[in-house]
């Protein structure tokens, strides 16, 4: 049974950016996801929690059509994508930005060409590409990596470059696949700060997958302070209203609501996860 606060109801005027309706998928075995229904409204940040192996990354790949559900439907920007041919999915995907678990940078390309990958395909003039790449790298505070290859970057730097690549075209939806997975606490905080900055500066709706509850709480209880250029905590007891939570247990969505509802949840799996 899903606990649902109703906070994630889509904006009545514009509709959800992303909506899953009774989505199920399996790979040669028991279902990885079963009957999953939720939506992401404009300006909303949804954090999908769950331990490793519950289908979080699969869900994220269903969101932009990298995988197709066995049952149910996925609506991206109001279009049903589950049955859309691959060719028609490419233009829709260019409106989204995705940050992969390990960055998934193209190791034969420089940081500049990685970040500018979409712009290069669109034959944007070189001068404009350089300017926009420098802006994007400045956002993630990695201007000095412009000419470097991914092999010479640390794990945290790769994630930051991946974030720059994801939002260089100002996408209408951002998908983060465990952006802090495998990173040390200090680097994780840097990545979360970038996500908070992106959320509060550009208000791009996003779906973030993580198994780290501390990152999720940090995201929800902090805001970006443009005056000082860093993340600061919200007043005691306040949370970001646009940041809500989902939780998966063995492929089923068992929670959908705010941080307050999450910490007050009586579901034994949620309780155990929060401990």
């Amino acid at each position: 049974m899903i606990e649902n606060s109703g906070q994630s109801e889509p904006d009545a005027t514009t509709g959800p950016v992303l909506a899953f309706h009774n989505v199920s998928i399996a790979f040669d075995g028991p279902p990885v996801l079963e009957d999953v229904t939720f939506s992401v409204a404009p300006g909303e940040t949804r954090i999908l929690l769950g331990p490793a192996g519950v289908g979080k990354s699969v869900l994220l790949k269903l969101a932009n059509g990298l995988l197709r559900p066995d049952q149910g439907s996925v609506e991206l920007f109001g279009e049903e994508i589950a049955s859309l041919p691959e060719e028609q999915l490419f233009p829709l995907r260019t409106r989204t930005g995705m940050v992969f678990q390990e960055g998934a940078l193209f190791d034969s390309l420089t940081v500049r060409d990685n970040v500018a990958f979409q712009l290069i395909q669109e034959r944007v003039p070189d001068e404009e590409i350089d300017r926009r790449v420098r802006d994007a790298l400045s956002f993630v505070e990695l201007e000095e990596t412009f000419d470097l290859y991914p092999a010479s970057l640390s794990g945290g730097m790769r994630r930051r470059v991946a974030i720059a690549r994801a939002f260089i075209r100002q996408p209408e939806l951002l998908l983060y696949d465990s952006p802090t997975g495998g990173l040390d606490p200090l680097t994780s905080t840097t990545i979360i700060e970038l996500i908070v900055k992106e959320r509060d500066v550009y208000h791009t709706p996003s779906l973030l997958v993580t198994h780290r509850i501390q990152d999720a709480i940090l995201l929800c209880t902090h805001r970006f302070d443009p005056a000082h250029g860093h993340m600061i905590p919200l007043p005691q007891g306040e949370t970001d209203a646009g940041t809500t939570f989902l939780m998966l247990e063995e492929g089923r969505l068992i929670f959908d609501g705010s941080l307050h509802e999450l910490v007050k949840s009586t579901n034994p799996f949620v309780r155990e996860f929060l401990l």
């Binding site: 990298l66 989204t96 992969f100 678990q101 390990e102 940078l105 193209f106 990958f117």
Partner: protein, 260 residues
């Protein structure tokens, strides 16, 4: 138990053939539909064509030399060593040039395509490309196939020339025969149908080795171990298919161009 295993393997084989058919059809149709990524084509043409030149030259020279050595020994029994040039040139141009070049290039490039694309799959670079709105089939697979077909055609010509030259060197310096006679026989024996046969084959072999290399690369699963497995399968299947298709093609081409 054994029957279940046979059934499972048979189903896997049929599924692989079906997947390959769909994959190679899509790749083939992409050759004629824009966008065609010309810069990627040129890069691949350099890697496949220029990069394979040394092994093709060496294998061509050696094969021509071996043919001259072996044929001279046999032909001398009939007092027909004068036709060594004819034997070497016809064998190289009609059969060994295209097949050897195909097998050599598949050993080098089908493996590199499978491992490169396989590594991209397991590190999610292929998914990242799709997520960025670019079709990996068009961006990665089609330029490789296009470049391999074009380059294998020219590499086969180089292998043929080197093979005839290698045969000539052996004929003159080891068999102590007349070089002018060797080359004039090699030239006189050639007819246009022989050349057409020899130049049609690399078009098919180039398509086979590149599509197999890309196919196994793009369906890699199971991390770095899976990349190794894909590489082996790509080289084995590309080489076997080249030899098998050579047999079929020779049958068909001999129907169109019967021997005199």
């Amino acid at each position: 138990m054994a029957i279940i295993m046979i059934e499972k393997h048979a189903k896997n084989l049929i599924l692989t053939v079906q997947d390959y058919s769909i994959f190679s059809w899509r790749a083939f149709m992409n050759l004629f539909r824009p966008p065609i990524y010309w810069p990627e084509f040129l890069v691949q043409a350099d890697i496949i064509g220029v990069g394979s030149l040394s092994i093709v030259v060496l294998s061509g020279l050696s094969t021509g030399g071996v043919l001259a050595l072996q044929s001279a020994a046999t032909l001398s029994a009939f007092g027909a060593t004068a036709i060594t040039g004819q034997f070497v040139s016809l064998t190289m141009i009609r059969e060994l040039g295209p097949v050897l070049t195909g097998v050599m290039v598949s050993g080098r490039n089908a493996s590199s395509m499978a491992s490169e694309l396989g590594s991209m799959v397991v590190t999610e670079q292929i998914d990242a490309m799709r997520a960025l709105g670019v079709d990996p089939m068009r961006k990665l697979v089609t330029p490789r196939i296009f470049a391999t077909i074009a380059m294998l055609f020219f590499l086969t010509i180089v292998a043929n020339a080197c093979g005839i030259a290698g045969g000539g060197l052996v004929t003159v310096f080891m068999n102590h025969q007349d070089g002018v006679q060797y080359f004039s026989k090699a030239w006189e024996a050639l007819r246009y149908p022989d050349i057409i046969q020899g130049l049609v084959k690399p078009l098919f072999f180039g398509y086979i080795l590149s599509s197999i290399g890309c196919f196994y690369g793009m369906r890699t699963t199971g991390g770095t171990e899976g990349v190794g497995r894909s590489t082996i399968q790509a080289v084995v299947w590309a080489s076997v298919l080249i030899i098998f298709v050579d047999f079929l093609l020779t049958q068909v081409l001999l129907t169109f161009f019967p021997p005199l």
